[in-house]
Amino acid sequence: MSTSTSGYAATAPSATPRRRARRGAHTSGLGLGLCTLYMSVIVLIPLAAVVVQAFNQGLSTFWDSVTTTVSLRALGETLLAALIVAAIGAVMGTMVAWVLVRDQFPGKRFINALIDLPFALPTIVAGLTLLALYGPGSPVGIHLAYTRAAVIVALLFVTLPFVVRSVQPVLIELDQEVEEAAASLGASNAITFRRIVLPALRPSILSGAALAFARCVGEIGSLLLIVGKVQIASIVIFDDIEGDAPHAAASLSVVLLVLSLLILIGLRRLGGRVAH
């Protein structure tokens, strides 16, 4: 019997179920070890280094660092922008998903494919497109660049697919007979939507919006060219790194990390799958 190298098929004709399970556990342990090693070298040890850097001068220094005016304002600006984007994204994303599922019109497949564009397009290009459109020499005469409004538009662009792609499959599966029953019992469209459709969609809207929120909190690529003097947290961290202030950068990073982790845990509770 040759020794197997991976756990998923570690069975041999003569192996009893018991032996199978034991051999499986052994080889799968090796696989688990290799995966954990790869994750550690690339992800876990570096992130641990950020936490160590933030706290290596004591808890009070960390606290002082995250409660400076600059840090607090950056956190406020970032959270406010993320909230606004998640809210607009939830409404517009649900509307787009509705049109893509329930409406029929020529070119629908093209539009449907287009939704994923923000995932495929490099974020710096997204930033540059907004600069081209709303920056100096704007062809439409709107000058948003270097303002909060530009930040909101950039974040709406990069987070567009989250709510749409989260609501779409639920809407496809939704049983329209219940809606028809409601209508035949005299419910108006508004009531049917509020009482029947919206409750069914709510978890998917929420998880899409939460993903969008998480993305906004950490976003930097699409903001680099248009952020101007708006103090977004990721930009402040970047400036701290460039200004050789790793402690300040690490402290603010830890706050963002905790925030991201909370969203990740919340999403798990919601049962939403994290994607992209």
Binding site: A9, L32, C35, V96, R102, A120, P122, T123, V217, A250
Partner: protein, 272 residues
């Protein structure tokens, strides 16, 4: 719900207008701006030594990150779905971390570990292997940010197909290696392919993490996204055309990626 014709039309109009304003119009403007001084000018900007070097560095980083993350992704998905060991739950919850960590924090984290003063960095510097401010650091940053895509695409497919065929193959005497190549891999191939496309898209477009660990020297450590950033930051009308030209190269790449997503997406068992 039966919605009246005017309501349907206005919903459609609002949704399409929103998409046009947010997605199509800005993209169109970049193409227009790239070619407003003629195709020749744009071509010259795309073929400067800095632009050519940025193109190849972008390809090189993707060529390192995508295969590594694909092998890791398939292996890790097998461990998570088919494995028995304890600790799988912990690994499962940690896999998604790169999706929620800000790219700029990724850059900082890598400097703290692999930088000159970093935990491992000192050893590498002593042995004459620079990591940070050089392409190996940019490669690690690219691997970090694109790490979970293949795992997250392949794991649900593995659950979906079950392990009956693998068991049957093993019963008939196939080694686990044979079972993997002949049974498992063909069943998960569309999931793997879709994961590879997503990984590639992320690897080609990454800027935040790479920006922090790059020395940003044109011709050496600039990727195409970094070149866009640098040219757009420099004042002067000529430079901005250069930025648009590099952005057009990236936009064309991402349209190819989008096409691949559209073709591959529906083939995944998960989407049925």
């Amino acid at each position: 719900m039966r919605i009246s014709r005017p309501a349907t039309l206005s919903l459609r109009a609002v949704a399409l207008l929103y998409l046009a304003l947010l997605l199509l119009l800005p993209l169109g403007v970049v193409f227009v701006r790239t070619f407003e001084h003629g195709i020749g000018t744009a071509w010259n900007w795309m073929t400067t030594p800095a632009a050519v070097s940025a193109f190849w560095l972008t390809v090189k980083l993707a060529a390192i990150a995508v295969p590594l993350n694909t092998i890791f992704g398939v292996g890790c998905a097998l461990v998570l779905v088919r494995g028995h060991g304890r600790g799988r739950a912990v690994l499962d919850s940690l896999i998604d971390l790169p999706f929620v960590v800000s790219p700029v924090i990724v850059g900082l984290a890598l400097i703290l570990v692999y930088g000159e003063q970093g935990w491992f960095g000192k050893w590498f510097v002593q042995h004459g292997i620079p990591i940070i401010y050089s392409w190996p650091g940019m490669a690690i940053a690219t691997i970090f940010v694109s790490l979970p895509f293949v795992v997250r695409e392949v794991a649900p497919v593995l659950i979906e197909i079950g392990d009956e065929q693998e068991q049957a193959a093993a019963t008939l005497g196939a080694s686990s290696w044979q079972t993997f190549w002949r049974i498992t891999l063909p069943s998960i191939r569309w999931g793997v392919a879709y994961g590879v496309v997503l990984t590639t898209a992320r690897a080609l477009g990454e800027i935040g993490a790479v920006l922090v660990v790059s020395s940003n020297v044109a011709g050496q450590t600039l990727t195409l996204p970094l070149l866009v950033n640098q040219r757009a930051d420099q004042i002067g009308a000529g430079q901005i055309t250069g930025a648009y030209s590099a952005a057009t190269e990236l936009a064309i790449m991402s349209l190819i990626v989008l096409l691949a997503m559209t073709v591959l997406g529906p083939r995944r068992p998960e989407s049925r």
